[in-house]
């Protein structure tokens, strides 16, 4: 018994050292000590916790899941195990599982309510419940910790975006970026939302800032290329292409950026060839861009084919709906046009060109009041 007591005491002190190493960021040492601790005492909840978190940091999900499951088995009333399991599931994009575990952590009064709420809201939004996510976030004030506050605003932005409330989403996105400029996902969202809502100069300004911060990140450089394309006088498309080639030389998105540069140079044939290569290699955006080139060159049949491909691959794209709607409208196919343009306005309710096209459609359908409303909206500067 004495030896057992000594062993347990020693295990306890090893655990303390593991904890200290963990807090100091020495994860190698923390892992080694924690392993020692749980070997000596399989019931050392905190040791399993440390090992689980370290495994999660290294994306070793099987290991981290097993460790956290051990924690909740050993100490079912401990909310932290459930919280960490929820986080692990979040990173593995298993949204419903994440929601379950976060909920159980909440039931056990996990102490950091703000953090739990933000993570749970994130999971709710990603699982397709943006309204629920927003309701949860509204139950707390933006946290004081800047990183957590950034996450709060980031999740708010993502949720509002899912609900097509782009003006508010962009504002929340700006808050997130302001509070935590080191998270590229906030930048991606903000730039993409600004492009979608026809605010190209603002999108380019943000993309310029982002490409400076994340010079080797393909997603950032790709958005830089797209934003530059949308601004007529931007001389930055070639630079964006170079940056993207540096970041991901084998990526099919390079063909899209090439195509955008060719478009700027007025070389439509070359642009179409580049977009075609990108489309064949699975870049969804490429079909829309190809369709635009074909439409501008008068090949409406090819444009329709490309837009339909884009629609099939990206059914919730407001831009695709708008382009397809414009095409049908130009050909007098009003029923098809109406389906697409009414879809576009629900997806992009704050975007002038959408309202303008819808106004033209309603005019052709003899719906004078509706037409006037949307044409007015489509002509005023937001």
């Amino acid at each position: 018994m004495i030896w057992l007591a000594i062993a347990l005491l020693q295990a306890g002190s090893v655990l303390e050292r593991a904890d200290m190493a963990f807090r100091q960021g020495d994860f190698e040492a923390a892992k080694a000590l924690a392993l020692q601790s749980v070997t000596a005492d399989p019931g050392a909840v905190h040791g399993h916790m440390i090992l689980g978190v370290i495994a999660a940091r290294n994306n070793q999900w099987d290991v981290s899941n097993a460790r956290f499951q051990t924690v909740i088995r050993l100490d079912p009333s401990n909310p932290t195990g459930y919280f960490y399991l929820g986080q692990a599931k979040l990173y593995q994009r298993q949204w419903d599982a994440a929601i379950q575990y976060f909920t159980r952590a909440a039931e056990r009064n996990y102490p950091d309510r703000d953090r739990l709420t933000v993570e749970l809201a994130h999971a709710q939004n990603e699982s397709g419940r943006p309204q629920k996510a927003l309701e949860m976030l509204m139950e707390i004030a933006p946290p004081a910790d800047p990183r957590l506050a950034a996450q709060y605003h980031g999740v708010t932005a993502f949720a509002l975006g899912r609900m097509n409330q782009w003006t508010a989403a962009i504002e929340a996105g700006r808050q997130a970026v302001r509070l935590d400029a080191s998270n590229p996902l906030y930048w991606d969202f903000l730039i993409d939302a600004l492009i979608k809502t026809n605010q190209a100069p603002q999108a380019l300004a943000e993309a310029i800032r982002a490409q400076r911060l994340f010079p080797d990140r393909g997603d950032t450089q790709y958005l830089f290329a797209v934003a530059s394309h949308h601004v007529v006088e931007s001389p930055l498309s070639r630079l964006a292409l170079r940056n993207l080639r540096d970041a991901e030389p084998q990526s099919p998105r390079v063909f899209v950026a090439e195509g955008l540069l060719y478009r700027k140079q007025g070389k439509d044939e070359e642009a179409a060839a580049a977009f075609t290569k990108a489309a064949r290699r699975g870049v969804k955006d490429a079909y829309l861009l190809l369709g635009i080139v074909h439409r501008e060159n008068g090949d409406l049949a090819a444009a329709e084919r490309d837009y339909r491909d884009a629609e099939r691959l990206n059914p919730s794209s407001g831009q695709v709906a708008l382009e397809l709607g414009k095409l049908f409208l130009s050909r007098g196919e009003l029923t098809e046009a109406r389906t697409r343009l009414e879809k576009a306005v629900t997806l992009l309710p704050d975007v002038q060109p959408v309202h303008y096209q819808l106004g033209l459609l309603y005019q052709r359908l003899g719906m004078k009041e509706e037409a006037a409303k949307h044409l007015r909206w489509g002509k005023t500067t937001p």
Binding site: P184, N198, A205, F214, D216, V231, V232, E233, P353
Partner: protein, 350 residues
């Protein structure tokens, strides 16, 4: 000195209001007037070609941009201590059959170590020396005073004014000079700091002595003598800069092409070296093209990144006249000019 970096972009969709081109046209028609002097830097992360597009070229004004800028009737008076003063009319300048083309990097004398008050362009104009020869400068004249329509003036030593590469420019990167860069006519004094390349040029005068109120003076401090002037700021120093990554960048790959520029005033850049360990060791960067006098040269360095963590990257250059950048600002310098010590950028690799 904190400067703002300005981007004046406009969308391709109609109804977005005044475009940049309209603004420029308005400037040519003489309606554009700034309320206060503008200073905005070039964002080096946007460096692509050697030449910086006109819209991105840095702007530094000493006084507000003049009102009523128009090429119609614009004249530059060539006079002072000359036998045959004359007016150079804008249309004559632009109609020169063999215009001088000059690739020159211009840097503000107060450009910080990591600053963007530096850019490169290809200028079109005519030789200032040829104009002074036409005017027959008198033998006692030692300087040439250049005066802009904003009231700013600089005195150049006669030798520099007469140098074959000192020009009066009317074109920039193949376009007419923009208003913010000196339209209709400006001086380009290559290899010297930007204040000598006087904008909105109205007067070229041969004079006997330099202006007494020159603020562009080096000054040094010592315990014995306090602060005293140590000569005019003129020729550009050798200097180098990163274009990517910049300070605060977050990298995720294990191989990254570091890029930047280096320049050396009237000389050629001889060598650029990069350190990825805060100056403990240095390796030579690759110059992208043969170095030229007056012009910056781009350089690259392939960085194989061993581990995640924080890094201090540094760059230094040397020129073919034996000059090299100092590691730190000499402690006895008491002015804010010629800031050309090594640039350091701190990045995180995650």
């Amino acid at each position: 000195m904190a400067t703002r970096v300005s981007y004046k972009w406009h969308s391709k969709l109609p109804g977005d209001g005044v475009t940049r081109r309209l603004l420029l046209t308005g400037a040519a028609a003489g309606v554009l007037q700034a309320q206060q002097p503008e200073t905005s830097g070039f964002d080096l992360s946007l460096l692509d070609d050697d030449v910086v597009p006109n819209d991105l070229f840095f702007v530094r004004e000493h006084y507000p941009q003049p009102a009523g800028l128009s090429s119609a009737g614009w004249r530059v008076r060539i006079g002072g201590a000359v036998a045959e003063p004359f007016d150079l009319v804008y249309d004559e300048l632009t109609a020169t059959p063999s215009p001088r083309r000059l690739a020159a990097t211009i840097e503000c004398a107060e450009n910080p170590v990591d600053g963007g008050l530096v850019s490169h362009a290809e200028w079109t104009g005519c030789s200032l020396g040829a104009l002074l020869e036409k005017a027959r400068v008198r033998s006692g004249a030692k300087f040439v005073r250049l005066t802009g329509a904003d009231g700013f003036s600089r005195c150049l030593p006669i030798e520099k004014a007469m140098h074959a590469d000192t020009i009066l420019a009317h074109g920039m990167n193949g376009e007419r000079l923009p208003a913010s860069h000196g339209f209709p006519v400006r001086a380009i004094v290559p290899g010297w700091y930007g204040m000598d390349s006087v904008k909105w040029l109205k007067q070229v005068e041969a004079v006997d002595g330099a202006d007494p109120g020159d603020r562009y003076l080096r000054s040094e401090r010592s315990l014995l003598t306090g602060v005293r002037p140590a000569g005019p700021v003129r020729e550009g120093c050798v200097k180098s800069a990163f274009s990517r990554p910049l300070d605060g960048a977050i990298l995720s790959s294990r191989r990254f092409t570091i890029r930047g520029v280096a320049w050396a005033g009237q000389n050629r850049v001889r060598q650029v070296e990069v350190s990825v360990d805060g100056g403990k060791s240095w390796r030579t960067g690759r110059l992208a093209s043969p170095p030229r006098p007056y012009a910056w040269v781009q350089w690259t360095f392939d960085w194989m990144i061993g581990r995640v963590g924080s890094y201090e990257l540094m760059v230094r250059a040397a020129d073919d006249a034996g000059r090299a950048q100092p590691e730190a600002r000499p402690s006895n310098r008491a002015d804010g000019f010629e800031l050309n010590s090594y640039q350091t950028v701190r990045v995180v690799v995650s």
